[in-house]
Symmetry: C2
Subunit: 227 residues, 2 copies
């Protein structure tokens, strides 16, 4: 970002950048549904010779803009001429997991509950697969004002599958103002407390709740103590 001439991003994220970093660079910020506009602007500026940095939260490669930028680079025929690089970051589910203890120590699946771009049948099939194959499950976009029945439906799938007592928890606004952490179980987690800034994690069959932490053991202890 220091070397960029132009910084493009969702308004909320651009506001998190320091004035020092922004300096006198061109700044293009747009609202939440302006993804395409944002990425097209970035590609236009880059085609005109600017060194452009597109800012995301979390990891730009996890439900963020890396893919859309690639699509627009291709669409504009500039895939070969405009240098493009993804700088990885800490994804929201890792920031959330760290605050909850160590829930992701074994195989896990990450599913977005937003059915704006994905049919709900596909999402539900993935949740069911995560339960049946005993993955730890991290949920993005678990709930918004307009999408309130999806998370209860996921919890119901777990209950019907006999996993109502399984540890489940959430983190809201990880590492930001208003950060909150809740540890519960599938049965006791209250969907009403969850919003679109929340990541939900549901344990696998081995996950347990210690007093202030959710732990999915990897099996080291059992293995090495025996040998």
């Amino acid at each position: 970002m220091e070397r960029a001439d132009c910084i493009v991003g969702y308004t909320t994220y651009v506001r998190l950048l320091s004035a020092d970093l922004l300096g006198d660079k061109e700044v293009v910020s747009t609202g939440m549904t302006g993804e395409i506009e944002r990425c097209r602007t970035a590609v236009e500026r880059a085609r005109a010779g600017s060194n452009v940095a597109v800012v995301c939260s979390g990891d730009p490669g996890v439900y963020a803009l890396a893919g859309l930028l690639l699509e627009i680079l291709q669409e504009s025929g500039s895939l070969d001429t405009v240098p493009f690089r993804v700088i990885p970051g800490i994804p929201a589910f890792c920031a959330a997991a760290a605050l909850m203890g160590a829930p992701l120590m074994h195989d896990f699946a990450v599913v977005s509950l937003s059915d704006l771009l994905t049919p709900w049948e596909t999402i539900e099939r993935r949740v069911q697969a995560a339960l049946e194959a005993d993955f730890v499950l991290a949920l993005y976009n678990p709930r918004s004002k307009k999408r309130s029945w999806q998370l209860p439906r996921v919890l119901e799938i777990y209950r019907v599958g006999g996993a109502g007592g399984r540890p489940a928890g959430w983190v809201k606004s990880a590492a930001r103002e208003g950060q909150a952490v809740r540890l519960a179980t599938v049965d006791t987690l209250d969907p009403e407390e969850v919003d679109m800034f929340t990541t939900v994690i549901i344990g696998n069959s081995q996950t347990r709740l210690l007093n202030r932490a959710m732990l999915t053991p990897r099996g080291y202890m059992a293995k090495y103590e025996r040998s």
Copy 2:
């Protein structure tokens, strides 16, 4: 790490730290199979009042030591008395994904192919579930000198499932000396090139290969162009 009195870690990772950072701190480094010893030492020092930093690569909460430390804190009855905090990092599969383009833009599963601590049947069930539920799949520990048949078996599951033409690739030693990136398909990926420092990513049914990148579209274009 700056504020720690004692730094504990796998020898290879401790060597990556600068002499400035290490200063005159106590440093406890052990070989690769010394996880339990490493974590027990860390907990002992912390119980004795030291400010201890345990160093992992990637994210300490993804197949690393956060969970084992919690287990040992519990075992030693110090869960309530020793402050414990996980600092999230960039997991290896995100560093790998960034170098491959944007393969993780939609729901994904992460599976370790190491059957030292997990029965192979469980691992295979998860791979099969990832294929059937159309997750992008990231594989940790895909191959070592002693474990050479597991990755070919995973590729066979995909071929049998009609997904032989699906984009697949790997990154070796992401962001380290010797970094290498390969983009291929399930049919053309050569397991012999893969080692224990490699992360493999297999696309979902929508993933495609652009000339220098692997892209899983999230669906933005299709959605917004239509509306």
